[in-house]
């Protein structure tokens, strides 16, 4: 999952300027980015990791930090593997 972390970090760094985001850093605590950020994040995750973000995935806790996005992906890929 190191590769996933790096990809997410690279994507997020577009929005948080020169900040060196830590894996467990709360991105929502860094302030409002813009009204289009949330959807760009959904599209990024869907395209990059070939998953679909659905209603039930929409918990702030799932998108709070790089680590929480990685665990969401891990959970979703186990579900995918099981299906």
């Amino acid at each position: 999952m190191k590769a996933a972390k790096d990809k997410i970090k690279k994507f997020l760094s577009q929005f948080f300027g020169d900040r060196d985001l830590q894996d467990d850093e709360d991105i929502f605590a860094l302030g409002f980015v813009n009204s289009m950020f949330a959807m760009q994040l959904v599209l990024f995750i869907e395209k990059e990791f070939e998953v679909t973000i659905e209603n039930e995935d929409l918990e702030f806790a799932n998108f709070r930090s790089i680590n929480s996005m990685v665990s969401l992906l891990e959970r979703k890929s186990t579900v995918l593997a099981r299906d």
């Binding site: 577009q14 009204s35 289009m36 949330a38 959807m39 760009q40 599209l43 990024f44 869907e46």
Partner: protein
């Protein structure tokens, strides 16, 4: 890189064009004048499957890709912007349900929306809330197994005839989205007349006075109504408006080419005057540029690229501003006739101006696009310094 429509897309384009020339263009001035869209024209759109354009075939839709949907919007926009607005808002709601709706909502609504048996409208704006859309004042409270909605929505496109509205309200202070059927108790619908443009788009105000809807009508989840439901929906709306604007500008250009080839002043056709040719040149170049931005946004949408959102905003900004400019020049080129209802260019100008206000005004796009520009710049600076560090280390 290959910047060319596929043969399938070219075929789509010709059949959309033929439909618009035959079924829409002859009625567009009347729709504008009478401030209403005759139901038989909506039925024709439905029969062609255009109201289900973005819905997959599994739900009875036409399953168009983003490029085909864009071409459809351009062509309908060339004929009648009011009708194009119907396609916009109806598809926005269909998209919201497809992406964020529950299984029940999909089963209940999608096939009806695809066939046009039900018409949908998008209800975000309010008397006190426009550009700052997340500040909606309409409230929702949960009471037993119903939500109770209170507030007022304004400028709702096709609100006079819609069967279902996607309404945004705050539930426990958090922006949320709800489906409200037209016969819901406590909902009253008041027509809005006398608008500057898209006069046939049957706008309405919605008054929600203890409006009661079933609990299963919440779309997505509490708190995600703005960040996810409205923003993904508005992104599709912006794409549709951008392509529709290319259509308006194209209609202006075609009207001007025809007019300047027939009317003479100072013993020559208007097209022989260089100052007229300059306006024609600007129109041609701007239309081509706007169309390419729309194609690029559509291409990125089809590949699910996150960049598609900002590129759509750029396409909408550019296409709507050039549509107003091209339409303004078209009226100028037509002189007195351009100001008369006997020629459609005055309608194009009035409709184009509306496009700079809806789906995020020109100023709101400017703010967002500039932010994006700075973001990209800082990002590429960081990236190049990181790569320089890497180079230095190896």
């Amino acid at each position: 890189m290959k910047l060319e429509l596929t043969s399938q897309q070219k075929d789509n384009c010709s059949s959309f064009r033929a439909f618009v020339d035959e079924e829409i263009v002859p009625h567009a001035d009347r729709i504008d004048r009478e401030e209403r869209t005759p139901p038989e024209i909506i039925q024709k759109l439905a029969n062609k499957g255009y109201l289900g354009a973005i819905l997959p075939e599994d739900w009875g839709g036409t399953g168009m890709d983003a490029i085909a949907y864009g071409l459809l919007n351009e062509e309908i926009g060339r004929g009648c912007s009011s009708l194009r607005c119907l396609l916009t808002v109806h598809s926005m709601v269909a998209h919201a349900i497809l992406k964020w709706g529950s299984k029940f909502q999909k089963e209940h609504w999608l096939t009806k929306l695809a066939s046009g048996d039900a018409i949908a409208a998008f209800a975000l704006s309010e008397p006190n809330v426009g550009s700052d859309a997340k500040a909606v004042e309409t409230t929702a409270t949960l009471s037993g197994d119903s939500y109770i909605l209170n507030g007022q929505k304004k400028w709702i496109t096709y609100g006079q005839i819609a069967d279902v509205f996607l309404v945004f309200a705050k539930w426990e202070g958090k922006p949320s989205a709800f489906l409200v059927e037209k016969n819901s108790p406590g909902l009253s619908i008041k027509p809005i007349l006398g608008m500057l443009g898209v006069r046939g788009s049957m706008l309405a105000e919605l008054h929600l006075n203890n409006c009661q809807i079933p609990q299963e009508n919440l779309v997505c989840r509490q708190g995600f109504g703005f960040s996810h439901v409205a923003s993904s929906t508005l992104d599709l709306g912006r794409y549709s408006v951008a392509c529709g604007c290319v259509g308006i500008a194209q209609a202006c250009l075609e009207a001007c080419i025809e007019y300047t080839s027939k009317r003479k002043q100072f013993d020559v056709y208007l097209k022989e005057h260089q100052l007229i040719r300059q306006m024609i040149t600007d129109a041609i170049a701007n239309i081509k540029a706007a169309r390419l931005l729309c194609y690029q946004a559509g291409y990125l949408k089809d590949s699910g690229d996150p960049k598609s959102i900002m590129e759509t905003s750029i396409a909408k900004y550019f296409a709507s501003t050039i549509a107003t400019k091209v339409a303004n020049d078209a009226v100028q080129i037509h002189g007195g006739n351009g100001c008369s209802s006997e020629y459609p260019v005055q309608r194009y100008l009035r409709d184009a101006k509306i496009m700079e206000i809806i789906e995020g005004s020109t100023q709101i796009q400017q703010i967002t696009i500039a932010d994006y520009g700075y973001q990209e710049y800082i990002f590429s600076q960081n990236r190049s310094s990181t790569s320089q560090e890497l180079v230095a280390r190896t």
